[in-house]
């Protein structure tokens, strides 16, 4: 395809005109490719996967993982879908969700500064704060959320 485009450009009359067309074509192709890569990368980094099984069992939809606290902490946010199940999930401090890095051998378990015992309202977002154990999670990486026997893979880390 590229060779065919070059062959068409050769038919453009005038040496300088051809050169200008070639340079313009190279620029357009390059910028388009770069733009596509940027768009693909950015959409890939912001789309958060969903798990129907987790939502059915725990009544929550995880929505964001972010490295905060100058790299020392991680926040995990979730939207409440089912208030009763979500309240049980949030109160079960002995079986917290675990965040595992997909890039390195490491992860972190739940720490929370959200008070347990809330009546969680459906549709609202709540959060958990984690220690970022050994810097396990980093910006732009992917993580797996393990909760009970279920998992949610390829969650982007902001």
């Amino acid at each position: 395809m590229f060779a065919s485009a070059i062959s068409k450009i050769r038919k453009v009359p005038g040496r300088w005109a051809r050169r200008i067309v070639i340079v313009a074509t190279v620029l357009v192709v390059g910028l388009a490719a770069g733009g596509y890569a940027i768009a693909k990368g950015s959409s890939g980094s912001t789309e958060f996967p969903q798990s129907a099984a987790i939502e059915a069992q725990y009544g929550v939809r995880f929505s964001r993982i972010a490295v905060v606290g100058d790299g020392g902490l991680v926040t995990l946010t979730y939207v409440v879908l089912d208030s009763e199940r979500a309240t049980r999930f949030q109160s079960d401090v002995q079986h917290p969700p675990e965040l595992r890095s997909e890039k390195r051998d490491g992860g972190t378990k739940r720490v929370s500064v959200m008070k347990q015992g809330h009546t969680l309202r459906a549709g609202q977002t709540y959060y958990l704060v984690y220690q970022n154990t050994k810097g396990a999670l980093q910006h732009s990486a992917k993580a797996t959320i393990l909760v009970g026997s279920l998992s949610l893979q390829h969650a982007p880390v902001l």
Binding site: G30, A33, A37, V68, R110, V113, L158
Partner: protein, 430 residues
Amino acid sequence: MKRLTIRRPLALLSAAAMIGASALIWSQAAASVAMSEGLLCDTDPNQTFSLTAEDGYVSTPDGNSIYMWSYGNSKRSFQLPGATLCVESGRPVTIVLHNTLPEATSIVFPGQKSVKANGNPAQPQFDSGGSLTSLVQPAAANDGSVTYTFTAGSPGTYLYETGTDVDKQLQMGMYGALVVRPAGHPNQVNDRADSAFTAGKEYVYLLSEIDPDVHLAVERNQPVNWAASTARYFMINGRSMPDTLAPNNAPWLPSQPYGALVHIKPYDAATNPLPATIRYLNAGSVNYPFHPHGSDERVINRDGHPLQGPAGQDLSYQKYDLDVGPGQTLDVLMDWRDTEQWNATTNPIPTQIPAITDQLLVGSDTWFSESGYLGTKNSVPANLTQNNECGEYYHIAHSHALEQATNYGAAFGGMMTVFRIDPPAGCASQ
């Protein structure tokens, strides 16, 4: 000839790929550079700024999206709070306000003297019936503009805020911070040498509140029921906990660029002799009793003026609760001192540290790792959790009016953040 025919398209393809890769690398580099910690200043060699009064949306940690008005840098998009402007004392400042809002708006600069608007003294405006319409000359609705000029006053921190329909526009977000630095001493809070702080360890805490019902009414162009107005969200720099912990320019908070994490190391006479500075401003309607756990802070400036006597006596004071009144600013110095020098081997804590279960604040969360020694960690029971990966301390700092430390009533949230104190050697894992 055949070789040339193949090589030229290949060369051109390579050039295109390089351009594309460069665009990608440039984009990623720009994104990574954007995130940071500490004070983000707008500066200009001529101290001339262009602000645009505009509308936009902010997000709260409970998933709400709230319609706001604010003053953004005209070269950027909407942001809350308004752009933090940093200027030098004694030099002229020019601020051009462009107004895209559907009603007139303005800026007042409490603490600045001889402010002019379009070259005339800035002064209250009245309608033909003698009713006050604005505290200063406004920019007309829908693309009006006005230029304010003044000479930057005493070094310190000041609010800039709307002077038009103040109750409503202040609630809608029309405020920002003005940092005036002493001439020739960018790392001092005021002209006193004892106000010096560590370069880069400078923080602004602009405190505010939101009643979402007011914002919804304004968005829908409906009347505001002020009698029923109740603030539900409380913010530091336009963010509520846990968003306060996120870095500046966190990509998931595109309209709320300023973080609120203090990150320091212990005082050390040789290696870390200077404190950090925190500049508190209250853009809300009630007192915010801001309480940093773990260490007092030294109040050295109030409303942009040093706390000193007529002969320059130091009148600063230590405070564990910073009562920041509406419209007020306080500049403080803070450090963390290992006063007792506890050491597990040479100077052990002479008492038994209470069981971790006695130290839990709420639920099972703790910022303690069963060791009272900075930089040391012990194991914690399996059913408990802790947050300090390398034995660093995280001191909670929050409004002690505890309804202000919630996100629409859900604790904890709101006007809360943490101060992070690393061991002297730092955190190797981060």
